[in-house]
């Protein structure tokens, strides 16, 4: 349709471009095509970009604004709070909860990821042997990950209950003394870690399993013909080949675990005292979890969390560049 109209409009330009016969008009037509496809491309993209601006950038902006002003409950509604600069940040760094919250966050994230990844990878290698029923069992392994976090958290709270929990009943049955999982400062972080590791294993299993499937089978065959043992095959071949998949799994695990809120809040509310308070929990305690919400401090804590996540993402990007450069 369009090409039928084109020659007429194109003619004068053909004459003008006589010095460079036939190249000029074609390029201008291509430019016009590119411009119109750019319009189309951005037309399809515009809703999401607007959405990102309205529902990510603006809340984020509001959050930064909260953190650099001193809002009270009333000024939170009215919106005119005095500018405070970094005072809120200084206050949270000096707060006695900050150090334990940061430490708990670090322990929670690294222990969770270490166990989730090691167990997930082990299971992936195991299921990769494709025995009878392996597909069905692998599917069942997804269940903990698909359950609402609130459901898993309340189930674990009841299982870890000091007096009537099945875990303590088991410990007693094998001759150990029961543990106050959720009510003793020594164990509360361990208790939420157990639940969180349990929830994260399926995710690691699925990704690492698909990573394993991406390795051509002849690689393993060649290695076993060369006489490599199962252990050697894993450390010398499987593990190095899985490095890119592992890196992305660990990064995603890091980002998700840093944000964990539901599990800890349901199981311990960050307590007793601050023994299982992470930065995410602390931020919630300061804002919605308090009768006199201090949204400014809560927002500052939340922004610290974002900075940590972004720093690790940048470390990941750099590490990947270095890997690719090798």
């Amino acid at each position: 349709m369009r090409s039928a109209v084109r020659p007429r409009g194109g003619q004068p330009r053909d004459e003008a471009a006589a010095a460079a016969p036939s190249r000029g008009p074609r390029r201008s037509r291509r430019e016009r095509v590119i411009r119109s496809t750019q319009w189309t491309a951005w037309g399809f993209l515009a809703p999401v970009v607007a959405y990102l601006g309205l529902f990510y950038a603006y809340p984020l902006y509001r959050n930064i604004d909260l953190s650099i002003r001193s809002y009270t409950v009333t000024s939170f509604v009215s919106g005119n709070a005095p500018f405070a600069g970094f005072a809120n940040y200084r206050a949270i760094f000096a707060n006695p909860t900050f150090a334990p919250a940061l430490l708990n966050t670090a322990v929670f994230v690294f222990v969770s990821i270490a166990f989730q990844f090691a167990i997930g990878l082990g299971l992936a290698v195991f299921f990769h042997r494709n025995f009878r029923l392996s597909g069905l069992l692998r599917a069942l392994f997804l269940v903990p990950w698909l359950l609402p976090l609130l459901v898993s958290a309340s189930t674990w709270s009841w299982m870890l209950n000091s007096d009537s929990g099945v875990v303590n009943a088991f410990l007693q049955a094998v001759g150990l003394s029961p543990i106050d999982w959720l009510t003793s400062p020594t164990w509360s972080l361990g208790a939420v870690l157990i639940a969180n590791i349990w929830i994260g294993i399926p995710f690691n299993l699925v990704i690492m399993y698909s990573g394993l499937q991406g390795i051509p089978p002849d690689v393993f065959e060649a290695a076993s013909i060369d006489g490599a043992s199962g252990w050697q095959r894993f450390w010398r071949i499987t593990f190095p080949l899985l490095r890119p998949v592992s890196a992305i799994t660990l990064l995603l695990g890091f980002v998700y675990t840093l944000k964990v809120f539901d599990i800890i809040w349901i199981m311990t509310r960050g307590g007793p005292a601050t023994s299982s308070t992470t930065l995410a929990i602390w931020s919630y305690q300061l804002s919605f979890g308090s009768l006199l919400p201090d949204f400014s401090s809560a927002a500052a804590v939340g922004n610290v969390l974002i900075v940590i996540a972004v720093v690790f993402a940048l470390v990941y990007v750099r590490a990947r560049h270095r890997l690719e450069a090798l």
Partner: protein, 271 residues
């Protein structure tokens, strides 16, 4: 076919049983009589079980379940409408600056939900959207939209270019092409995204508790939370609600297991 040793299957069943023990325990407790709840050691199987917990659910939790269903479906609709065209654009139309959008989508997923909740709260107070189902749908969609775009662009980049060119030659405009070619062949992507969007909205607790905890329509996660928060000792009712709240997860797993795995991997191991 290679030999498949039975002992591997035995170990596999054992490991899976350990992994799923908490799920079994949830069902077991939901069927236990209140009088047996504090028994030591607890009954490993529900001897003289009861459905009391479930009758309580039927009596008290149905409105919550309805709200969750509504919020889940609303989130799915909003996510699909936003994410599918964007995924198509990023996968096939090469918009200038598309890389930046991709990066923003990744960064968006790093923002902790608590930060989003505070931002939304501040905005909703002004707009009067607090305690409304629409506000909750909007907030829940932020969990799923960035993921949805990434999944759609991963699925749609596999559509052969010849197919789209053929449509163009036949005179289809870009909207036509999108509606009658791209969407139908992206069925798997649509299913995967819908599934996760629904599941995440259904499971959301933080947005519900911060943006809708005074609303007349509350989702099931708040129903469970209200039980726990009231220091309710009716653990069979709590666990029965938990079992019912897990039904969508179970249904999706049975009906759409391969899409679940596809979603996890496409989101993570895309490039």
């Amino acid at each position: 076919m290679k030999h498949r040793p039975a002992w591997l299957t035995a170990i596999g069943v054992g490991v899976t049983a350990v992994m799923l023990f908490p799920v079994y325990w949830m069902v077991n407790v939901s069927l236990t009589q209140t009088s047996n709840m504090r028994k030591s050691p607890p009954n490993l199987i529900p001897v003289d079980g009861t459905l009391d917990g479930y009758t309580v659910v039927l009596r008290q939790q149905l409105p919550y379940l309805g709200t969750s269903l509504l919020v889940g479906l609303g989130t799915v609709a909003l996510t699909l409408v936003l994410a599918a065209p964007a995924g198509y654009s990023l996968a096939k139309l090469r918009p200038r600056g598309g890389g930046v959008v991709n990066l923003l989508l990744l960064v968006a997923q790093m923002i902790p939900a608590i930060v989003m909740a505070m931002g939304f709260y501040a905005i909703y107070i002004k707009l009067g959207l607090l305690d409304s189902v629409w506000g909750l749908i909007l907030a829940d969609s932020t969990i799923a939209v960035p993921f949805g775009v990434l999944i759609f662009s991963a699925f749609m980049s596999r559509i052969p270019d010849e197919l789209l060119q053929a449509a163009r030659i036949d005179g289809a405009g870009s909207l036509r092409t999108f509606g009658s070619i791209v969407l139908p062949v992206s069925r798997n992507g649509i299913i995967t995204v819908s599934l996760f969007a629904f599941l995440w909205a259904w499971s959301d607790f933080l947005f519900a508790n911060t943006l809708d905890n005074g609303g007349s329509l509350q989702p099931i996660t708040l129903g469970i939370y209200a039980y726990i928060g009231n220091n309710n000792q009716q653990w069979n009712a709590i666990m029965a609600t938990a079992v019912v709240a897990s039904v969508p997860a179970a249904v999706l797993l049975v009906l759409a297991q391969r899409y679940v795995a596809a979603g996890v991997t496409a989101g993570a191991v895309k490039d």
